[in-house]
């Protein structure tokens, strides 16, 4: 038995090293999941946040207005804590006919004393309704700059498609206003974070 002991030690060391390698590899895999996750969402068409903001940039189409059908559109607004703004919709909800264009105003106010630039990221719930909600004119297409204490009205023109599945009779449009960090040096086209800015190509 004593003959076998050093042998066994070498074997143990090898197995230990292999397993430690596996641990390190899995730790790396955890970080590799960050890009993999985005890649996966792009390939399978699962909407990531960046893609959601791009959906519904429709040009006006001549859909026949469906006068018989009513759809409730609710508006929800969130302001990221980094952004010292107030941002509310003029109205909480609207009843609309699919195929008709409507306009709704959002009120924004800069609570701070210096100029701040932000951008709104839209999303639609339930997600199944996303492709059927078109924004014809939206403040979320551009970055918005407000001087200290400035107030402004941001208009949105939208249309719900007549092709909206029949079981959906209510949807929520939600805006999250984010602060753009490079805002102070304005006129930078790529002020958006890289992931969101690169979204149009996808």
């Amino acid at each position: 038995m004593n003959q076998r002991v050093p042998d066994k030690h070498r074997k143990n060391r090898r197995t230990t090293l292999l397993l430690s390698g596996l641990v390190v590899a899995m730790f790396g895999f955890g970080f590799a999941l960050v890009p993999l996750y985005n890649l996966f969402c792009q390939i399978t068409g699962t909407q990531s946040l960046s893609q959601r903001s791009q959906i519904g940039l429709a040009t006006p189409t001549s859909e026949r207005v469906d006068q018989a059908r009513w759809v409730t559109v609710k508006f929800d607004t969130t302001v990221n804590p980094n952004l010292p703004w107030e941002f509310v919709a003029e109205t909480n909800k609207m009843r609309v006919h699919p195929g008709q264009t409507y306009e709704v105003n959002f009120h924004a106010r800069n609570r701070s004393h210096s100029a701040v630039t932000g951008q709104a990221i839209p999303s639609v719930a339930p997600w199944q309704a996303t492709p059927f909600f078109s924004k014809l004119e939206c403040f979320c297409f551009n970055k918005q700059r407000l001087d200290g204490s400035e107030k402004t009205i941001m208009p949105l023109q939208f249309m719900v498609s007549t092709k909206l599945p029949a079981e959906i009779n209510s949807l929520t449009l939600s805006y999250s206003f984010m602060r753009l960090k490079e805002a102070d040096s304005d006129d930078r086209e790529n002020a958006l974070p890289p992931m969101i800015a690169s979204a149009p190509d996808q």
């Binding site: 230990t16 430690s20 899995m26 790396g28 999941l33 699962t46 984010m178 974070p193 992931m195």
Partner: protein, 531 residues
């Protein structure tokens, strides 16, 4: 191979060192196993106390005892202490004690690392407790009100207690990974000559799979919480939508660990059952090979179904369908295991000592929890049940019987081996019945609460939920206090009792029963030969 108990070998070994050095510097698998088990016992009472506070608060609607943030902090602590502090160390304690004795090895393969992997735990527990204590002091920041899942963005906003928690998770992870490496090396390299993998006792198999799962998923959790730490302090935006990150990514990282974790908690107890049921049914385990296969299948499928915890985050239809089908598939190998246990009992000469009572209880109640799990796996149904008390009832039905009762069964089963004394059978049975009945009083009504729409993790509730909550809280008090009996039985057994034979149970098979009870400090210094 008669009852060749080997006393220590004078040429190599010395007697057990005395005093605190015996424990602090221990490299002996039995002593380290004991340390693990006592650590788990302390944590069981800590986690249980927080659960009792939670149930006291929920006894009546309104806010009686706890602030909402404190309540949610207790929910967080209850989960983390029970999972990382009680169940995992207890299972590791059983592994340390039993695996070398079962496979005929003199000790674990890496005894010094074994010492380290235990002694990291008290440090981790201190960090975990500090995360709870710190907010009570001025400048200590807010409480961890996120639940054990620590989802951002909320977890990014919590005060410094979250940093204590993150480091506690790192330490706990290091401890488990070291213990797992040790167990795998031991099982692969230290088996007695003639013991092939397919002759290995079932408990060893379950731990081999568990240890591999731990090695695969704990580092990913460590990565996830490291990213969280960076988001909190170093200006990265892995999970911050404002910086181009995605909070849902954290959920994927967390549940990539979190779902296999369920099997990490469950499998060692399945291993215990595979010894307890054959012993008291006096028949060999039915379908050893299918058991091993089923376990490997559970572990493999269990690695790739994590997103069933996130049906409501807005994944595509294709993704949720995949996760639903994958999850439901797991019930097939799990069902196979349950049928194997039933077939083992079938026409056996059964007696119902305490370990066997727990084993039969597990087969019944774990199956029940598994069924509500299938309900939750179905996407349209889960949209309704998500984050309700139904989920709480479900995972307590799988984790209490599946994990904790299995550990109780193991403790009662091997206590005569460890201490050399038989435990008090009358008290053991009393403990089983109070424990199991009060467990059901506590958690069964929570199914109804969840189906009626009571959300979980909220300090207050609507008046209409009062009755079931009262029942549940009363059950919880009995359930919590019943563990004092458990404590008493253990200490009584350590101090004395009927002398246990080497083969403490009539039907017990395996190498560990060929040693004395209690075994010598060093055992199997000459490896047994397996035919």
């Amino acid at each position: 191979m008669s009852t060749t108990t080997l006393t220590h070998d004078e040429a190599h070994h010395h007697e057990a060192p005395k005093g605190w050095k015996r424990w602090l510097f221990s490299t002996n698998h039995k002593d380290i196993g004991t340390l693990y088990l006592f650590f788990a016992l302390i944590m069981l009472f800590l986690g249980g106390a927080s659960a009792m506070l939670i149930r006291m608060e929920l006894f009546q609607p309104g806010i009686q005892l706890l602030d909402p943030d404190l309540y949610n902090n207790l929910v967080t602590n209850h989960a983390l202490i029970m999972i990382f502090g009680a169940v995992m160390p207890a299972a590791a304690g059983l592994a340390n004690w039993m695996i070398p004795m079962m496979i005929g090895a003199p000790d674990m393969a890496l005894p010094r690392m074994n010492n380290l992997s235990f002694w990291v735990l008290p440090a981790a527990a201190t960090m975990l407790i500090l995360s709870f204590v710190v907010p009570f002091f001025p400048g200590g920041g807010t409480q961890i009100n996120t639940g054990w899942t620590i989802y951002p963005p909320l977890s990014v906003q919590v005060g410094m207690s979250m940093d204590f928690l993150i480091f506690a998770i790192h330490l706990l992870g290091i401890s488990s990974v070291l213990a797992s490496i040790n167990i795998i090396v031991t099982l692969l390299n230290m088996r007695a000559p003639g013991m092939t993998l397919m002759k290995m006792p079932m408990f060893c198999w379950t731990w081999l799979v568990t240890a591999f799962l731990l090695i695969l998923v704990i580092p990913v959790l460590a990565g996830g919480v490291t990213m969280l730490l960076f988001d909190r302090h170093f200006g990265t935006s892995f999970f911050d939508a404002a910086g181009g990150g995605d909070p849902v990514l954290f959920q994927h990282l967390f549940w990539f660990f979190g779902h296999p974790e369920v099997y990490i908690l469950l499998l060692p107890s399945i291993g215990v059952l595979s010894h307890v049921i054959p012993t008291f049914a006096r028949k060999p385990l039915f379908g050893y090979k299918s058991m091993v296969g089923a376990m490997l299948a559970v572990a493999t499928i269990g690695m790739v179904v994590w997103a069933h915890h996130q049906y409501t985050v807005g994944m595509s239809l294709g993704a949720v369908t995949y996760f639903m089908i994958g999850t439901i598939l797991i019930s097939i190998p799990v069902g196979l295991m349950v049928f194997n246990f039933i077939a083992t009992m079938w026409r056996g000469a059964m007696t119902f000592e305490t370990p066997m009572l727990f084993a039969v209880g597990i087969v019944l109640m774990f199956t029940f929890g598994g069924l509500s799990g299938v309900m939750l796996a179905v996407v349209p149904a889960d949209m309704q049940y998500h984050d309700s008390m139904f989920v709480v009832a479900h995972f307590h039905y799988v984790l209490m019987p599946g994990a904790v009762f299995g550990l109780f069964a193991g403790v009662f089963y091997w206590l005569p081996k460890w201490t050399g004394h038989m435990y008090d059978e009358k008290l053991g049975k009393l403990f089983f019945w109070t424990n199991v009945i009060s467990f059901n009083i506590t958690f069964f009504p929570q199914h109804f609460l969840g189906l009626a729409g009571m959300p979980r993790r909220i300090v207050d509730y609507n008046m209409i939920f009062t009755e079931f909550n009262v029942i549940s809280s009363i059950g919880a008090m009995i359930f919590g206090l019943s563990h004092l009996l458990f404590l008493y039985i253990i200490f009584k057994t350590i101090r004395g009792g009927k002398k246990a034979e080497g083969r403490s149970w009539e039907g017990a098979k395996g190498l560990e029963w060929e040693l004395d009870s209690p075994p010598a400090f060093h055992t199997w210094t000459v490896a047994p030969q397996i035919k």
